[in-house]
Symmetry: C2
Subunit: 224 residues, 2 copies
């Protein structure tokens, strides 16, 4: 069956999302997929190639949709003026919630997997980067920059960094942080995005406080 390939992709997705690349053995994955161990090498030729395939088939459509939404935001914005921050953030986030509702897919698992991608060793991201992830990142950085012209380049770099960290963390950890997520349903990605957009915008817009009186050099003083 060619359906074996699909079952393998889904099983690998699940395992990678939960335990990462190194933590997921091919034996685990084939057991979950109810497939034979040798099927992995038949369909993908190696574990690493399967990893790339698993990631790419989810990230590809996501980047397309992001690009499309961002173009919409640009088209609607007044020429020359700053881009609307909320809209840019939505274009960054909503595709995650929208692209993965095809039959049987779990947006929670997929977004967790994508969030995890950035905790993996760099060599596991090179191929994904080459296929468009890096470029999409730069595109969004530029859009955010246009939405936040008031900051110095250095301040913007920090804000962009924190923004990506919050976004990736919120995706990677949803549904699996005991003690952190009492009754709320972090696996409802639409809801997550709805709350995350204002959080990011608030953090991004917050000005840096004026530098206060010189800090104590290292740690002893408690004169607050």
């Amino acid at each position: 069956m060619a359906a074996t390939r699909e079952r393998l992709l889904r099983a690998a997705e699940l395992c990678f999302a939960e335990r990462g690349y190194e933590g997921s053995s091919l034996r685990d994955i084939t057991r979950v997929a109810k497939a034979n161990l040798a099927a992995v090498n038949y369909h993908f030729s190696s574990k690493q190639d399967m990893w790339v395939e698993v990631m790419q088939r989810r990230i590809g459509p996501l980047l397309l949709e992001r690009h499309r939404m961002l173009a919409e935001v640009r088209a609607a914005a007044p020429r020359g003026g700053p881009l609307p921050l909320e809209k840019v953030c939505e274009a960054l986030l909503l595709p995650v919630a929208r692209v993965y509702y095809a039959g049987g897919d779990s947006p929670a698992v997929i977004s967790r997997m994508i969030g995890r991608l950035f905790s993996e060793p760099n060599f596991l991201r090179q191929e994904i980067d080459r296929r468009g992830l890096s470029q999409s990142g730069r595109e969004f950085r530029a859009a955010l920059r246009e939405a936040l012209p008031e900051f110095s380049e250095k301040e913007f770099k920090w804000k962009f960094y924190f923004c990506i960290c919050a976004l990736l963390g919120a995706l990677a950890r949803q549904g699996r942080q005991p003690g952190l997520q009492g009754s709320m349903d972090t696996s409802d990605i639409e809801e997550l995005v709805r709350h995350l957009v204002p959080f990011l915008c608030g953090g991004l817009r917050e000005p840096m406080p004026a530098k206060r009186a010189p800090r104590p050099t290292r740690g002893k003083k408690s004169s607050k």
Copy 2:
């Protein structure tokens, strides 16, 4: 040498920070430590026990300092009033920057390792939780809650979740996100904290927009 134990702890810290628990073999670790493979089992009896030891010796002092700083914030705040959000966030973050400057330690590596802790399988966190991490988390959740009384419990839960995600992500990823961190030095933890505090505070304070309606402050066309 008893110094072997120390070299092992540092080497393990480095490896766990870079590649995670499953990605770090005892062979890797003992090679970095210039120690014999069998030394791990002699000093720690198992890889998992060493993991707990590596984490605990860094997290323990961190939690103590957090507790101390938070007590200071409470003592300085007017009774009954809300706690000052910036101070609470600083008590959450500054200890990471301050506790690890003892001879030879790298705050960048240590904070990366701590940030990674939350991407590891849950069983690797149970012992650390039991030794105070969970309780410290609850303590800070309560303090943040007192600093943000204006939100509903549900909204606060989301904000707290995002706050922790941004914090852990910023720690875990510093120094190793190519393309994301152009010229800035994310391994300067003091500087990271100085920028992260306003980002978190801005995100935490930002009110939720009215549901499914154009934002009240700006009559803007909504395209959903």
